[in-house]
């Protein structure tokens, strides 16, 4: 969309292992979407997708960002991180597959549902990763 006034951009930093702050992006985006009067089921999908993305960055990477763009027709969520990258994306997309270490699992995270949940919540889901560089996940949720 060319018209700049019709776009809302939100950006959040996600810090490695900072579980007290992870989840903040998700809850703030939820509030904005409610203020825009977006249907509650779509709000929920965006909240889940963002939350899982935040958690993934906090657990698996060295840190990253969540960038959300809201237009009148859809919501784009990009999750970028610096870190080890994902070795086998196909495997990582399988439900229950997890590389989270024990200390993270003990906190109740890392059940291997993050990426599958993100995919389930989005209409378009793209993931690319480079070993020892980082990972980028792009999700699009349509408003119509």
């Amino acid at each position: 969309m060319d018209d700049k006034s019709g776009v809302i951009n939100l950006e959040y930093e996600v810090i490695r292992y900072d579980f007290s702050k992870a989840g903040q992006a998700s809850s703030e985006i939820k509030k904005v979407l409610k203020q825009l009067g977006i249907n509650s089921n779509i709000v929920r999908k965006v909240a889940i997708a963002t939350y899982e993305a935040e958690m993934n960055i906090a657990i698996h990477s060295l840190g990253g960002r969540i960038i959300v763009t809201i237009t009148e027709s859809n919501i784009n969520i990009s999750a970028l991180d610096y870190g080890p990258g994902i070795e086998n994306i196909k495997l990582a997309m399988e439900e229950g597959f997890s590389t989270a270490p024990n200390n993270i699992r003990e906190l109740g995270f890392g059940a291997g549902m993050g990426l599958p949940n993100m995919k389930r919540c989005s209409d378009v889901f793209e993931i690319c990763s480079k070993k020892n560089k980082g990972t980028k996940v792009d999700m699009k949720i349509s408003l119509n």
């Binding site: 809850s27 409610k34 203020q35 825009l36 009067g37 939350y51 949940n117």
Partner: protein, 421 residues
């Protein structure tokens, strides 16, 4: 009747404009303007937090009084099951029930009996794999209203059953009408309530078209009379009372215990309930079977219109529910019959209440969000409440909505004064 009815109202004379309630309100439904608190009507969920926290007793709940009984030929009292926690453990509750009758009622129906009825219905629900998980208890009307305004995506998780209060009213009136050959109009049904949200549910019910109750009288307004009457009470005919499990519904966790569900979470205190509902909305508890969330500390025993300290009352309820008794007359067939007569299930759809929306036109709403962000940056971020809005962000929102102005910020004004000098 006006579009909104709330049991919660402000006594303007007593309110001095302090900001205690402002910050306590879990959905930011209070503002202070011209040194008086204002409750934003379409937001309020009647949880009663403001009543509890007001040091001047200016926030109060509209309830009925015994004068209402004159309007009917026969009157039924339904004491809340939390009443069991309002008397010491060795109190003869038969005398308490008689004391209530002696206030001018013809019939007293124990709400715990209706809890027993719903227990049977919920036992089936938690086994029904077709229902979305977790099933959310509909006992607390403030929580049902909270879900409507803040967690609309969870509306379908709410158990579509009426409250014990409502089912008591229906069963009690039916029993009385049949036994004494009375017409519907001649019978008055009154709830002895610990809870402002229940009062709202009578006037503006959710899930059903019309309440069968004619009014609600607060427990604290009758407590003195009940105690006095109980001393001289003569029980002529024993009351049919609920089981100890039904009584247990008065405390948090009591429902889950009565249903016998293993995989449950029971939470009390509205802020705590909000936190867990957030987790449920994120899909983190989709394996949970049953969620019991109650707005008041301790559950209904903590209702703001009760007399006894919630923790003491809760402990009494726990002790009372120890010796397991069953309601013999409440069988599976009996409950099935009530269900088929339409006494138990909800008939109406629960609607989302969009209280947050800034503008119906999305383009304009987006512009407003940008303005809120811009204004919020100019505010100090102390959330002091002096402007009359609960937080700096909510002041920014109020300004954009047209209900406030930047000069309402006391700190900014002081800074500007200093600059001028």
């Amino acid at each position: 009747m006006s579009k909104y009815f709330h049991s919660l109202v402000l006594d303007e004379e007593k309110c001095n404009g302090c900001t205690n309630c402002l910050r306590r309100c879990p959905i930011e439904a209070i503002r202070v303007k011209n040194k008086k608190a204002i409750i934003i009507k379409n937001r309020c969920i009647d949880c009663g937090e403001c009543i509890r926290v007001c040091p001047y007793h200016a926030q109060k709940s509209i309830t009925d009084d015994l004068n209402m009984l004159k309007n009917f030929e026969y009157n039924i009292a339904i004491p809340s099951m939390s009443l069991y926690g309002q008397f010491s453990i060795d109190t003869d509750m038969e005398k308490v029930f008689q004391a209530i009758k002696d206030l001018g009622f013809d019939y007293v129906f124990d709400e715990a009996r209706a809890a027993d009825i719903i227990t049977e219905v919920l036992k089936d629900m938690v086994k029904d794999i077709k229902l979305p998980r977790p099933i959310i208890s509909s006992l607390c009307p403030a929580i049902v209203r909270l879900i409507q305004v803040r967690f609309p995506s969870l509306i379908d998780n709410i158990a579509r059953v009426e409250s014990p209060m409502e089912i008591s009213a229906r069963v009690a009136r039916k029993e009385l009408m049949e036994n004494y050959n009375l017409s519907f109009e001649k019978t008055g049904v009154f709830y002895l309530t610990p809870c402002p949200a229940k009062v709202t549910s009578i006037r503006r019910p959710i899930g059903i078209k019309e309440s069968h109750l004619n009014g609600a009288i607060s427990i604290d307004s009758l407590y003195g009379n009940i105690v006095t009457n109980a001393k001289k009470a003569k029980v002529t005919k024993a009351f049919t009372r609920g089981s100890t499990e039904g009584i247990g519904w008065a405390r948090v966790g009591g429902q889950s215990y009565a249903i016998g569900v293993e995989n449950y979470i029971a939470v009390d205190g509205i802020e705590n309930v909000i936190n867990v509902l957030e987790e449920i909305e994120l899909g983190k508890l989709s394996n949970l079977n049953f969620f019991e969330g109650l707005a008041c500390t301790g559950g209904c025993v903590g209702g703001p219109l009760n007399v006894e300290n919630p923790f003491i009352a809760k402990s009494r309820i726990r002790k009372l529910s120890k010796n397991k008794t069953k309601s013999k007359d409440i069988t599976k067939e009996y409950v099935k019959g009530l269900y088929e007569q339409g006494f138990i299930g909800w008939t109406e759809k629960i609607y989302t209440k969009d209280i947050m929306i800034l503008d119906k036109n999305m383009q304009r709403a987006m512009e407003k969000i940008e303005r809120i962000k811009y204004i919020a940056k100019m505010l100090p971020g102390l959330d002091c409440g002096s402007c009359g809005s609960p937080t700096c962000t909510s002041l920014a929102e109020d300004i954009v909505r047209g209900y406030g102005k930047i000069d309402d910020c006391v700190l900014r004004m002081r800074e500007n004064l200093n600059k001028d000098n």
